[in-house]
Amino acid sequence: MFELPHLAGSPASGIVLETRLRRRIRNSQAPDPDARATAIFRRLLASHRGWELRKPESGIYNCFGHVWASRRTAVYDQPGVEDILLDDGYRRLSSNESPVQGDIGIYYDSAGTSVLHVGLVSDLRRISSSTGAEVGAPVAWLLSKWNDASGEVLHHFRDVPWADGDFTLAFWTDRPARGTP
């Protein structure tokens, strides 16, 4: 059944990617997007009016490669993501802490166990009122490379392709906790 990809597929190849503690992270550089990936991304872009496109569709890296590998490769395994969080000194923000630029937002499934996506906190914005005045507390806007074939977009942290209730979000940081030397 899978003879064609077996024979014609390109062997997966990655780069040397390690955590701060030198643990190897399995990775693979993604090929160029196909027509379907481009079409799906364009539909998402059209249906999310608040998204701001930073970069059109590209291969090579996905969200994890964007945040942790300088856009050089893609990581597809949750254990690798967990190794990075642990070895690179990330901690989950507590409920009384607000994210700042450079922190990350990790999206999980509704059970909060399986990792779906990571985005980089790139901006903190207030809501603009009808008079143009900014109101309310600043909220996080994330820069996201949705997958290994999408473009990069800046979006409000809740403006995502999943319905409310289908995902949970946690902000993580490598900043020390308050009171920690």
Partner: protein, 164 residues
């Protein structure tokens, strides 16, 4: 619309598109009605293994070397649908898909590998191995001998225990 065609819906593809780990994609697909519907159709015989094979072959016609194969989401959905189904087709599908190591399709083989591991655990938990003993006929006038099968596990390597 057939259960297989439902896997090609825009809604499913757009929701699965931004998921970047095999673990996340597997968890997401398990909760999808399209996947549950496909599993039910296969389990009750409404859909057959040759039909799924034909659908997959048709899907793979658009495979192009050096390009992302976005329909791998559909292949992953089928893997999740069959992970709890008994039979040779499920074994063969998951086995064949999980051995692919190509950059055009990074997630579906990983999902198939996860499903295989979980399938093995599940089947081990449900399977009871019973050995067959050839029992000599009882001597005339003696009490009949009764054999009682027991579950074989790590703590018990005796196939049968003779109950008197």
């Amino acid at each position: 619309m057939s259960q297989l065609q439902r896997l090609l819906s825009h809604e499913l593809q757009e929701a699965a598109f931004p998921i970047s780990t095999a673990e996340g994609l597997q968890a997401f697909l398990r909760s999808r009605p399209e996947v549950v519907g496909l599993r039910t159709a296969l389990a009750c015989g409404e859909l057959t293994a040759p039909e799924v094979e034909e659908f997959v072959r048709e899907l793979l016609r658009s495979f192009a070397a050096g390009r992302k194969f976005s329909d791998e989401i559909v292949l992953a959905a089928i893997a999740v649908a069959v992970e709890t189904l008994p039979g040779r087709f499920s074994e063969e599908y998951l086995g064949a898909l999980s051995t692919l190591r190509i950059k055009e399709m990074p997630l579906a083989p990983r999902v198939a590998s996860l499903s295989r591991v979980q399938r093995a655990k599940r089947l081990v938990g449900l399977t009871e191995r019973l050995d067959v003993l050839s029992v000599p006929l009882p001597e005339p006038g003696s009490r009949p001998t009764e054999f009682v099968p027991v579950r074989i596990d790590a703590t018990n390597d005796e196939n049968y225990r003779l109950a008197s």
